[in-house]
């Protein structure tokens, strides 16, 4: 099936098997491997991207469902060498270790602040419940998001 998606500001036309997931399309067809796959039950959130400005788990939708939409992945976040404030906050607060959950976590965190620009610690913890991390104990991820909210 043919599809056209604006990914990180660039229009990309493609032709995929109907069963192709959005995450597969992003990774395998477009070569944007920053978005990761961590599970097969939509539990971990490693594949979180933004579609039309909202965070979505890209393993939970078909690529063709994104036809005509705008998708933002981790690769499209920084402006040149200038990292997005959320990326900076993760760096400054050691919000990542192995890095595998990180792209999805950063995208989810940005989505969270869009909905709730001044969250409490509890808001952040509940808001990120759908994004799993095995390294950080979430402590510094929560700190990162709260720091980004302040900045």
């Amino acid at each position: 099936m043919k599809l056209s998606i604006k990914v990180n500001g660039v229009s990309r036309d493609g032709d995929v098997e109907p069963r192709t997931l959005l995450v597969q399309y992003i990774r395998e067809h477009l070569g944007l491997t920053g978005t990761n796959i961590g599970c097969d039950t939509s539990s971990c959130g490693a594949c979180t991207v933004h579609m039309n400005g909202e965070s979505v788990k890209s393993c939970t939708m078909l690529a063709v469902q994104a036809d005509g939409c705008e998708v933002l992945t981790i690769e499209g976040l920084a402006k040149g060498d200038e990292m997005h404030p959320m990326q900076k906050a993760f760096m400054e607060n050691h919000g990542l270790q192995c890095g595998y959950c990180t792209p999805g976590m950063v995208m989810a965190a940005i989505g969270l602040l869009k909905e709730n620009p001044s969250p409490t610690e509890e808001d952040v913890r509940i808001g990120l419940e759908g994004n799993l991390c095995r390294c950080t104990g979430y402590h510094n991820i929560v700190k990162s998001v709260l720091a980004a909210a302040k900045s």
């Binding site: 069963r19 070569g31 981790i74 595998y100 990180t102 419940e129 799993l132 095995r134």
Partner: protein
Amino acid sequence: MGGSILGNRVLRKEDPKFLTVGGKYVDDLLDESLLTGALHVTYARSTVAHGKILSIDTSDAASMPGIVAVFTGANLGLTPQPATFNPMVARSALAMDKVRYVGEPIVAIISETREQGEDAAEMVIVDYDILEALTDLEQALTSSTHIYESCGSNAVFDTTALGMPDNTGDAFFEGCEVVVKQRVLNQRVAPCPLEVRGAAVAWVDGRLYQWLSTQHAQGARDSIAAANGLDASQVRVITPDVGGGFGAKIGSYPEEQLLGRLSKEVGMPLRWRETRSESMMALGHGRAQVQYLTIGGTRDGHVTAYQMHVLQDCGAWFDMGAILAPFMTRPMSSGVYAIPKIECRTTSVITNTTPVVAYRGAGRPEATAAIERAMDLFAAEIGMDAAEVRRKNLIPKFDEPHTTVIGQTYDVGDYEVALDKALNAANYEELRAEQARRRSSGDVKQLGIGVSVYVEITGGVPPMGETAKIEITDDGRAIVYTGTSPHGQGHATAWSMLTSEQTGIPMENVELVWGDTDLVPSGGGTMGSRSLQQGGVAVFKVAGQVVDKAKAIAARLLEANEEDIVLDRDRGAFHVAGTPAVAKTWAELAVAAKADGGLKHEEMHSVASATFPFGAHVSVVEVDTETGKVSLIKQIACDDAGKVLNPLLLDGQIHGGVAQGAAQALLEEVRYDADGNPVTSNLADYAFISAAEMPDIQVVHMETPTFVNPLGVKGIGESGTIGSTPAVQSAVIDALSHLGVRHIDMPCTPMRVWEALHGRK
């Protein structure tokens, strides 16, 4: 001259990449030219826990679209290979005559796309003669059904067979005023690195190249070479970024070892990545012990005898899990306490479950959980405060090696200070007062306070040392080669700090090379909290040697005595003392050294012994007495890992460790049904801990340097898990102790807590 960078909170230099384009994990190697045209491997796996294979029909699978080849063990001529520590336990990489756990690989399918392989795997038909599934460790121990018939028993390793004394039963406690017994479950958990297993292979000029998500490339090279009948020199393992390991990626697995052979058969490079559901069944599990504990002592709180029989579930293969109980749990059975008499027997048992491997702490959390649980039971029996009974029995501060009665020697220890720091940070007295208030008012939400004090082994796994090599490039950068293997710990930052400290070369001009066995042929990988005390110390020493070599060259160029040459670290330049204006930079010295083979040094740093970090944790929980729901509301962690190189990285390791410990105490458990089917085989069913279940973690610093290495450092990778697990479990039980609850097995789920309060209904 500026001060030392060591000990400072330095941000990670690896982060910008992870944050902007993401890491390059094995499944991300899309533009690796050696993998052009790579086909995909999918394994068809056993759907029964224990059975004889009567037939394998792959004809339908082979005729599916895009299927290039389908292989069984018989096609490949595989034969059973014996386990390292017990040759009577033998299996082939693909199951042939028998399957022993759900998820065991049986058939390898090569396809053009991954999806075609998954479809074809569904079409493989295996006919089984189903045998009794022994998923319960104690049932397997006494069953006449033997999972490896040639063993004549499911018990495959026992400390008594190693010549260690058997336990002597109740007679051991003669003279004790108080004796308490408890069967304790240290349940099976799944390590769950967020990146599952994956690999890619290509044959290059007759050599096997294997990209692998591993914690130990050099070990994987050797096991892959052996499995393929190759010399180690014919295999090159390359480690891309690794999305977590937690012990489960130390060894290589049959699915990985077979790829070279499969690639040779089809004449094409191959990629393999398991799904999460496969990973939950076939990546090794952790813990999985049943412990029979008896503790005895005096009414005034002195423990005088402690006896433990550990039953270690090996799962369906004699993997590393089988040897953790005898060689990691048993030596640490005394914990931080001066107990005059200890007996500890361990028995490792094969079951029809996923093989057990190392998982964060690997044998030490189990030892700590056991003695801490025993201490709590003893305290409850004599009506003494949990912190007080511990204080009475702690080994007093020592700065010379101390050997416990079980025979383990610790380097340095100051356990009472750790306990005091944790109690003070927690406001322990106030917490007890609040608890008393809630108890007297009959609050639905009762407060529980758990205390643990622990000591563990780090850097105790062979090889006892690590190699480092440093090369200075013509433009004055340092290339550091290490046999350790980062997968989240921040080696690039830490090793750059150590190199920069010695050489004055700025951190951004230090490049780290690891995990490629052609570039780093020898190394012990990253496991057992060994990296800094072995690999880091090696880098620090070698950097010092490179400075000495540079001084000799500078002396020649400046026509001065070597001992008069000084390194100005701020400038990264060498000059004669007192005449800084005439100096030679690292770049100039590297160029000058070219004729003599370059400016570089390589050395193996051997260590005499492991180190023994220690600490104390306090956990505070609220338990809803109506529903059994537990909320962890406070966690205080005082972990002493000796001198601290970078508190940013240290705290990160503690946080992650604490979460995994809390996860085991409260949530996570791998479970099977009566037929041996896993019922927690994906992340929807397995209770992987999330941000919502974790509280803010309060880290309390304490630094007691070790004399074992020149930096005074110990390991920190596993301490958080070891300290937190028993503290959290203890807090849950403590919340209900006034209601007569003495013990709840982990995980302390609402159901288990409710049952402890109300009895099984």
